[in-house]
Symmetry: C2
Subunit: 213 residues, 2 copies
């Protein structure tokens, strides 16, 4: 497998976590998003949506981080990243989507660029935008976690799931923008539990070849 990704991309980070949790080896292909390399050069030819991550596996080119993680979970079912019952699966997917559809897209690099270049927002207004959506989104996430099985170590139960693959990169990004994580005990406990695991440590941005270059 080849993973085209960028060390700082939240969506790339999600897939790296899943690959490490499943113990799947992959070639790390860096795409320098901040420099715009996804719009030009060989990656633009390879990728239909011109977004990272892109996973190449057995001749297929797969995009969208949650779709890729579900694919990995289907082709290599253990350790499972979704519960086995439909209700549990629905809750875990909803948690993941609460981050991937409600928080992250609004704070994506291309949106921040539009705020600065087109709307002429200054640094402080841009940061206020960023923190607003993270805070509002994580408060909703915290309320959702109250529905998780009693005694859950991670977002849902006692093994990491798709929801944790999405949560951890969002917290990392929020930390870069100095977001307020106070009063989110369930969320931060799940984050801290994840960061004790080797797979999450190995997947983090600072461990990526393009961060170290």
């Amino acid at each position: 497998m080849k993973l085209h990704n960028y060390f700082r991309s939240s969506a790339s980070f999600r897939v790296r976590i899943a690959l490490h949790l499943k113990g799947l080896a992959f070639d790390y292909i860096p795409v320098h998003i901040a420099r715009g390399d996804h719009h030009t050069g060989p990656f633009a030819q390879l990728s239909a949506d011109r977004l990272v991550p892109l996973l190449e596996d057995e001749g297929e080119r797969l995009s969208q981080s949650m779709a890729i993680i579900e694919y990995l979970d289907e082709v290599q079912p253990e350790p499972a990243l979704l519960p086995h019952d439909p209700v549990g699966r629905a809750h875990v997917r909803a948690l993941a989507q609460s981050i991937a559809c409600e928080i992250h897209p609004i704070n994506n690099l291309r949106v921040l660029k539009y705020l600065v270049k087109e709307l002429k927002l200054d640094e402080e207004a841009k940061n206020r935008w960023y923190r607003h959506w993270v805070r509002e989104g994580l408060e909703a996430f915290e309320r959702q976690l109250a529905q998780s099985p009693a005694g859950s170590t991670y977002c849902w139960g006692n093994t990491p799931t798709l929801a944790d693959c999405c949560l951890v990169p969002q917290i990392f990004n929020g930390q870069r923008f100095d977001c307020d994580f106070s009063g989110l005990p369930r969320t931060m406990a799940a984050f801290e539990a994840c960061m004790k695991l080797d797979a999450f440590q190995r997947a983090q941005p600072s461990q990526c070849p393009d961060a170290q270059a």
Copy 2:
């Protein structure tokens, strides 16, 4: 089943399509999002994330439209809204997420409200924002559809899938904002094929009780 939703909500519309495609009966519970009823009153007590749609089924409260549709597909597998092979499923989920994670969240009602109230954008600048993300997102979607099986009537193959459940509401919303759909032949052909089906017709905003009230 009870579906808490709003006629104009894109995410609600996705779930209505899926319910009609599967022939599942449901009680329609309107939540007036534009008036802010999701933040106050009984819905705020019922819903952890305070978003529509919310599906109540057998005592469970499920949120996030794509998670709900996957749940419906698991508890009532026919007609299937995802292919049976992992690669096909990955492509359909990626198409759905290209809309649900890349276009729709940036143009959500609460984001548009922030643009107007906090950033003081005028109507024209707000509409330019809206159309920019729809156009950029649908151009990427069009390129992705080139990877669909040859001769596909819908987004992926010859039966409607999760991808079509997401595409159709996005086109409806884009039409309200007078977006440019030129040069998107595959996308618009899939949209038009869907609109020939009774399930898509019955799910559309104008057919909802709260639109007619």
